[in-house]
Symmetry: D2
């Protein structure tokens, strides 16, 4: 009954260059952390993004959203969790949560929506077989 | 009857460092362009962000959203329009549109939501008088 | 007898995202400002970098150096001057100076050294004719 | 007789946002990697940068230099080694090497020079005792 979900968590330390003069991690940087988390997630199921590009498709972002709850500071270790609920068909939504590793506090949530695109033709496609197969294989292991 | 709106447009040229290997402007960079556009808008009504900070409040971002329609490329000149509809009370929403200056095409839309915060006490406040007054003075000129 | 020099100045406003928690512009950002200044300089002599890439060569950086004298702050307008002394042959050195527009103070100096490379073959070449010709045409006007 | 050296290596994976349209890691990003490596090095000897700032001094950069030998690509794991030769007195030089972890190839070398500064007075100081002591304690263990 329940839809299976692909989920993955990665840790990253906040860089000095990412902090603004409020001493907070700059708000635009969260989209980089989301991107690192989702590429780590895809790597975990055997689909590194370099492999995706070699297979002739890319995952352009259609929408991105961040809800900021508490600031991240320099040198904090952040745990970024990304989740895909079920195998996507034409669009893929990925949800994110960012926690401070030490305090466990939730710092931010968000999501991105992606298309599957053939960069040569610049046309949008359905989910590529290689992608659906990798997710399916992962779901068999759950 | 109609609510007055504060609106402002600024132009920025896309930097080489902002382009990714799809040759598109990186999706997280739009939040920097939104931030430049809103600080330019506040500067236009006599409220540079440095002045805001000196007056003892900051505008932390609560939410940010971007909808991507067409890519921006290296060296493109982007026109970023930001709009605040009416004088805010406890939260402020700013809407954005990003156009390619040469083609006139709409590349992205989005919004940010902000609180008014006293950084010394880390407490949220209502819209500061200096802020409401500057917007009001601007609306008198419309 | 004196070697002619190509020189050009551009102005850029420091972004909030570029400031670190010392309230200074982050030290790595100067290399972005150098890059903006040199691409503006090439645009001024009719050689926009997009045109350079279309003509089948790129200008990879071999070395970069920055000497920091005084900090740049948020919202400062910086004047970045770049200079090429004479027409290059196999390597090209570009020198930079960064001044605060309001105070006139010198904030930083630096240089970059570039090769001329054919990206298809990844091989280094001598200065391409289109490049030497554009510089020569500019020097005729001095 | 030989001067002792503090040396440390850290690994970082190249982010998508760091790649330019030549598919190389952007040349300015190396200064961020240098900064991560030196703060990791200081953390290893019990001097996290947050502790340094709490002790009332900062380490502003006076000079930075990078020599680029081979490009880094998306998803590469880089090993960044930083070295301080001997206990500094008034200036501190840190040397860096960046290798590709998989191939072992040297991608870049460089250095940064730092002052010790009291941010409250904006005045330059000699090496703070806490700093010299931490390096000395580390050298005792070699």
């Amino acid at each position: 009954m329940n839809e299976k979900a692909l989920t993955s968590s990665s840790e990253y330390r906040v860089r000095y260059s990412e902090i603004d003069q409020m001493k907070f991690m700059y708000y635009g940087r969260y989209l980089e952390y989301f991107e690192m988390a989702r590429t780590d997630m895809l790597r975990h199921i055997g689909l590194p993004y370099t492999e995706i590009e070699k297979n002739g498709f890319i995952l352009p972002v259609l929408e991105a959203h961040v809800t900021y709850k508490r600031p991240a500071f320099y040198d904090d270790v952040l745990v970024v969790t990304s989740t895909i609920a079920g195998i996507p068909t034409v669009r893929m939504r990925i949800d994110y949560e960012v926690h401070n590793k030490t305090t466990g506090m939730l710092l931010a949530t968000g999501y991105t929506e992606h298309a599957f695109m053939n960069p040569a033709t610049q046309s949008v496609t359905r989910v590529p077989k290689i992608f659906a197969d990798a997710m399916d294989a992962y779901f068999q292991t759950l």
